[in-house]
């Protein structure tokens, strides 16, 4: 957590608090996660699990797989899947701003922190544009997306090019960016996002299902829309390290899309998280074994899971249809539809 601290003098109370958080994080990272994977490595004989580098990568993969689909479920079912992409690009502007400040001024700020700040502001901006300016949702998304990428590219080129190298890691993501500090930040983000969604689950799901009905029922819809936008920003910034700016939206969307045939909203979130876990752990492993980009590998595995899930649903539907009425399969299927044939 050292880089998070301001370089100037800090008051003792702040130090004390940060110290205790640091202690908890050290315990979780080393004594629980690290030691656990060491034992697993000993049992299975897979050396990869014992390397601290891969232990951090797997921890990041786990966090991303949980919070991505958790927040993404609310986005996808509101047809707001692309907000993740927009906020990723604004996070890129934030990273560029952080690197720019580091390069030109004599202070040190973590680029992840500036990314989080800028993405959160962009999230609120998008919501405000939709709420008050009456702009079309995808138009306001496009404006903020391109606008922030423009800011980012200007900032990157405004210095002598020194930060262009650093920015590459954020654009495409890399397991190498998951330092101990970043793993700790991601873990904290994961806990915060999970807690927020758990506490606000009911209003969030109400707004997702029926926004007007939620307003009629007296819910402050604007507040929950903003909460969802800011949570998306947090997820995007957290997942960006491994996934990269360009691919990070995938973790909000693809696992959720793979789980849409699961009945029940809570269960579908659970299934989406499982799909996410499978995608990220497989992706990180393959990325390490074959020395290929982690973000791209994870997305390709996730798309594979999505395709398999869709094919599985279709196959099952086909089989059950044939089993029910071998001769009149087609007519039975069409007849069942109006009274609510469940395709699951």
């Amino acid at each position: 957590m050292a880089t998070l601290l301001p370089s100037g003098p800090a008051t003792p109370s702040v130090f004390g608090q940060v110290g205790s958080v640091d202690g908890i994080l050290r315990f979780v990272l080393d004594d629980v996660w690290g030691a656990g994977l060491d034992v697993l490595a000993g049992l299975t004989g897979v050396d990869m699990l014992a390397s601290p580098f891969m232990q951090r990568a797997y921890l990041a993969a786990l966090c991303i797989a949980v919070i991505g689909p958790l927040v993404g479920s609310f986005l996808v079912h509101r047809e707001m899947a692309m907000i993740g992409d927009t906020l990723a690009h604004s996070a890129f502007a934030g990273v560029a701003a952080g690197l720019f400040v580091n390069a030109t001024l004599s202070v040190t700020v973590a680029p992840l922190l500036t990314a989080l700040l800028v993405a959160a502001v962009a999230a609120l901006l998008v919501q405000t544009l939709v709420d008050y300016a009456g702009a079309y949702r995808d138009t306001s998304l496009a404006i903020v997306l391109t606008g922030s990428f423009a800011v980012g590219s200007v900032l990157v080129t405004a210095t002598d090019g020194g930060i262009a190298v650093g920015i590459n890691a954020y654009l495409f993501g890399s397991l190498a960016t998951v330092s101990r500090t970043n793993a700790a930040i991601l873990l904290v983000m994961g806990v915060v996002v999970t807690a927020a969604v758990t506490l606000a689950y009911r209003p969030l799901v109400y707004v997702t299902f029926d926004e007007v009905g939620a307003r009629a029922a007296g819910l402050t819809v604007t507040r929950y829309n903003r909460l969802l936008a800011v949570l998306t920003a947090v997820v995007v910034v957290g997942a960006m390290q491994i996934m990269g700016v360009i691919l990070v939206a995938a973790m909000l969307v693809i696992p959720v899309a793979a789980a849409t045939s699961v009945r029940g909203f809570k269960r579908s979130i659970g299934a989406a998280v499982c799909a996410g876990l499978l995608a990220t752990t497989t992706g990180v492993t393959l990325s390490y074994l074959y020395d290929i980009a982690a973000g791209g590998t994870i997305v390709l595995v996730a798309i594979g899971i999505y395709a398999a899930a869709k094919a599985g649903v279709r196959a099952r539907r086909y089989v059950s249809r044939r089993r029910r009425t071998p001769d009149t399969a087609v007519s039975a299927a069409t007849a069942a539809k109006p009274d609510g044939g469940d395709d699951e």
């Binding site: 799901v205 299902f209 029922a217």
Partner: protein
């Protein structure tokens, strides 16, 4: 005091007024049906009535408070216009949707036995108990309407507001749906609804309001069918609208 009081309300989108100096009271236990041509401001007025919009001028009083700042969300059951189009991919089950009726009362924390009973009772009341674990997007239009009514019942709503609830619902289910509304109304729930089918609304509603920006008529259905209010509101083209459906 009336349950809902709309007095001299005007509302515009930009400089185009869609609701113009409308005054109308809804008494407890009433079944009020709104009729009027497309674009006549019916939906806007309904939204004003339940506090989804704030009037430009005039006032709407719901349960004794200004509607737009009303804290009586749990007493309002709203069935929006496009219910029949709920996305089929939405994984939410009927039971999950009906449970939302309890959310205004319990936004966080565990559901009590009373909450769960309210949900079960509501599902049984509208006769969709056997569909509770189906995905709501996979139901027929009529079944989906019942699920939304069940959500309102689970909330113990006193006022049911429905915006063209039977669009996209077949004639048989529509009759059954109105029978259900009729029964609920007799059990004491106040109903305000928009309906394009003038025949069905004059059969079931206790009061009719005919709207085209301004209020052309407000009174009982028997009087309504004898007046020229409909022709006036539709500008003489009501026969066309009649045969359209």
């Amino acid at each position: 005091m009336a349950l809902l009081e709309v007095s001299d309300v005007t509302f515009s989108y930009g400089d185009r007024p869609v609701v113009d100096r409308v005054s109308i009271d809804v008494e407890e236990g009433e079944f009020l049906g709104f009729v009027g041509p497309n674009g006549s401001g019916k939906t806007t007025l309904l939204e004003l009535m339940i506090g989804l919009r704030r009037p430009d001028s005039g006032s709407v009083t719901l349960f004794g408070d200004p509607a737009h700042e009303s804290k009586h969300g749990g007493r309002i059951g709203f069935v929006p216009q496009d219910v029949a189009n709920t996305n089929g991919e939405m994984p939410i089950t009927v039971r999950e949707a009906v449970r939302m009726g309890r959310y205004p009362h319990r936004l966080a924390g565990r559901f009590t036995r009373a909450d769960r009973d309210a949900v079960d009772t509501a599902l049984q009341r509208v006769e969709i108990g056997d569909l509770a674990d189906r995905r709501i997007g996979r139901l027929s239009g009529g079944q989906r309407q019942r699920a939304f009514i069940a959500r309102a019942l689970a909330s113990k709503a006193d006022l049911l507001a429905l915006d063209e609830p039977t669009v996209g619902v077949d004639a048989e289910s529509r009759e059954a749906f109105y029978d259900l509304l009729h029964d609920l109304n007799r059990e004491g729930i106040t109903i305000v609804l928009i309906e394009h089918d003038i025949g069905i609304v004059t059969t079931h509603a206790s009061e009719i309001a005919c709207l085209n920006r301004e209020l052309f008529f407000h009174g009982d259905p028997e009087t309504f069918v004898e007046t020229d209010a409909l022709a006036d509101a539709y500008g003489g083209s009501q026969s066309l609208v009649h045969h359209h459906h």
